[in-house]
């Protein structure tokens, strides 16, 4: 057996080997230091402990040293262990309506993917409109966005990526050099990102934010209300996104007949539409219409779960299929985030932080919205968007209650920008997959993404100022 000798300096080896245990030891010490500090005025013991736990979770979510779901589990265990909330209350939070809605929505999306319906729709649209470079670019961009209205944006990115990759290959576009290839992959990522904030279904972050809001204040935002408030912003961002794509990466290709051949071959491969695709499509449409029209009356989680049961009654999926499409860590992540948010709110820690930070120098709602949306859009570039919500929303809700602001406003100001991560591969899986293709570099993505990020922030705030009052959301 060959023995490899590590020739690096011994001090370097020791530092590298001891980094992880030292990190967790330091984190533990920080936690105990924070809970043993003299309690500040206006803060309860429980609140102080909640802040200490919040700090630990913040560090773990930002560094990503533990999987997100495991950090959430740690939060769930620590809350009752240190008496921040009662044991019964803590574990009850885990059964929050939002968690079950997320679960139902992911299962439904899994069924749509498993049936092949989503791929068929994607191919049919690309085949119909992808005859010119501009047509194909718009098809991919709008298709990614439109599908993300109805299913997780990450699932959409995963589904469309192999098709876009094949198109780029088929058109002989040069990785890292072709402008058109860059625009195609960025269209896929941006389409998913922008479309993902339009409804509750684009990602679990919006239901998480709404669940945290309801848990903390009793105020609810329903499916239709959210979509009505956010949809115009999405439309404007799609328009800006299209101009951004074509200005940053002007097309350098004219002949598209090779792409057409790919679509026709792939459509032939998947054959005729079967019973399963029709049936899953009908279940999905009924579910979405019910969420929009009956969500308030029956509860969106109930509708989601009934639809899931319907899928099994109609034998459209097997449990094994669903297990392949859904990562159960999602329940832990979102259950934990809601628990931490509730612990911050109920212990008074959220209001205390809000008071000691932004509250010291502004109470103007428009400024608070602008600041929170700015902070969110920056943070989401470097960390998971769900983690950004878990961190910022409790403070935001605390601030709203402190200054008699409508808590829905702050929820929108955090939930929407949290999904708008345009700049880096680490920001969101859709960006990571685009860069991993090798057709677009991180530098290209950052260059266009920074401009898009600034414009997205401006559009969001302008909509908040001028459009929201028209639909009854007032500062």
């Amino acid at each position: 057996m060959k023995v490899q000798i590590d020739r690096r300096p011994i001090w370097l080896i020791i530092i590298l080997r001891s980094f992880r245990p030292a990190f967790f030891l330091a984190l533990g010490l920080l936690f105990f230091y924070l809970i043993n500090l003299p309690t500040s005025d206006g803060l309860t013991i429980q609140g102080q402990r909640a802040i200490a736990l919040f700090a630990v979770c913040l560090i773990l979510w930002v560094t990503g040293i533990l999987p997100l779901a495991i950090t959430s589990l740690l939060a769930i265990v620590t809350v009752p262990l240190f008496g921040i909330l009662d044991k019964k209350e803590t574990y009850a939070l885990f059964g929050n309506e939002a968690v079950f809605f997320i679960l139902g929505a992911f299962i439904l999306a899994g069924a749509v993917m498993h049936s092949g319906l989503s791929s068929r729709i994607a191919l049919a649209i690309m085949n119909r409109f992808g005859n010119t470079p501009t047509g194909l670019l718009i098809s991919i961009f709008l298709l990614a966005a439109a599908l993300s209205f109805f299913m997780s944006e990450h699932a959409v990115a995963a589904m469309l990526f192999p098709i876009v990759l094949e198109i780029a290959k088929g058109l002989n576009l040069r990785p890292g050099k072709s402008n058109y290839a860059k625009s195609l992959f960025l269209a896929l990522a941006w389409g998913c990102i922008i479309g993902g904030v339009a409804t509750f279904l684009g990602g679990a972050r919006v239901p998480l934010a709404v669940g945290m809001l309801k848990e903390a204040t009793g105020v609810n935002i329903d499916f239709f209300e959210y979509t009505l408030a956010v949809f115009p912003t999405v439309m404007v961002l799609l328009l800006i996104g299209y101009f951004g794509l074509t200005r940053f990466f002007p097309s350098d290709i004219e002949d598209m007949h090779l792409a057409k051949t790919i679509f026709e071959r792939k459509i032939k491969e998947i054959g005729k539409t079967g019973y399963r695709e029709y049936a899953v499509g009908i279940v999905m449409v009924i579910t979405i219409v019910s969420w929009m029209l009956l969500g308030k009356r029956f509860g969106i989680a109930n509708i989601a779960i009934i639809s899931v049961v319907g899928l099994f009654v109609l034998k459209l999926v097997r449990w094994k299929d669903i297990e392949e499409y859904v990562n159960w860590g999602i329940i832990l992540m979102y259950g934990g985030a809601i628990t931490l948010g509730a612990a911050m709110e109920k212990s008074g820690a959220a209001a205390w932080i809000a008071n000691k930070t932004i509250g010291d120098w502004t109470t103007n709602p428009a400024v608070i919205i602008a600041l929170f949306s700015l902070l969110t859009i920056f943070l989401t570039e470097g960390m998971s968007n769900a983690a950004v919500i878990a961190i910022l929303l409790p403070v935001g809700i605390g601030m709203a209650s402190q200054f008699n602001m409508e808590p829905k406003l702050i929820t929108y100001a955090i939930a929407v920008p949290a999904g708008l991560a345009f700049c880096f591969p680490m920001s969101t899986p859709a960006n990571a997959i685009a860069v991993s293709s090798g057709y677009i570099t991180t530098k290209d993505m950052a260059k266009a993404g920074i401009v898009m990020m600034i414009l997205a922030w401006l559009v969001f705030n302008l909509m908040a100022k001028f459009y929201w009052p028209m639909i009854g959301i007032k500062f």
């Binding site: 020739r7 192999p162 899986p429 997959i433």
Partner: protein, 154 residues
């Protein structure tokens, strides 16, 4: 007979390095071994992102990484094809190896297996920040390799 190794990978290719390796092999009357390493770091990272952050199930994440790996493999074959054509034009004896995994480990393995005299590697452009805080894989290879390593900047 001498052996020259040209090391290319998913993120490290250079026309200048290919030309240099072929010319060197011809001049030294050596055999040219081309190693193409498919780096799995990026695909693993994408898989983790989709499962840990996107909470997507194993099946779509696996299909996704397979699609990327297929693309990387095809690019490898195309790159190897280019070198083979140049080697044939110059009447240079040619051998090709494709593998996937850690860059340094795989390159050292081939250097040892083929008793390489000179290796030609391509170094990626890196920011000043990265250069200061971490060593490049090619520099690490140059340090560990038992043969001479000629380095080309991408």
């Amino acid at each position: 007979m001498k052996n020259i190794l040209l090391i290319l990978s998913t993120s490290r290719t250079s026309q200048d390095a290919i030309e240099y390796a072929v010319t060197l092999a011809k001049r030294e009357k050596a055999k040219l071994v081309v190693l193409y390493i498919i780096e799995t770091e990026l695909t693993n990272e994408v898989f983790d992102k989709f499962t840990d952050i996107g909470f997507i199930g194993d099946k779509p994440s696996t299909q996704l990484t397979e699609a990327i790996m297929k693309e990387y493999r095809q690019r490898g074959y195309e790159e190897m094809g280019k070198v083979q054509i140049r080697a044939m034009e110059e009447n240079v004896d040619f051998d090709a190896v494709t593998t996937q995994g850690d860059f340094v480990e795989k390159a050292l393995e081939i250097i040892e297996r083929y008793k390489i005299d000179t290796a030609v590697a391509v170094k990626r452009k890196r920011s000043v920040f990265l250069k200061y805080f971490s060593k490049s894989m090619v520099d690490e290879l140059a340090e560990k390799a038992p043969c001479k390593v000629e380095v080309f900047e991408e």
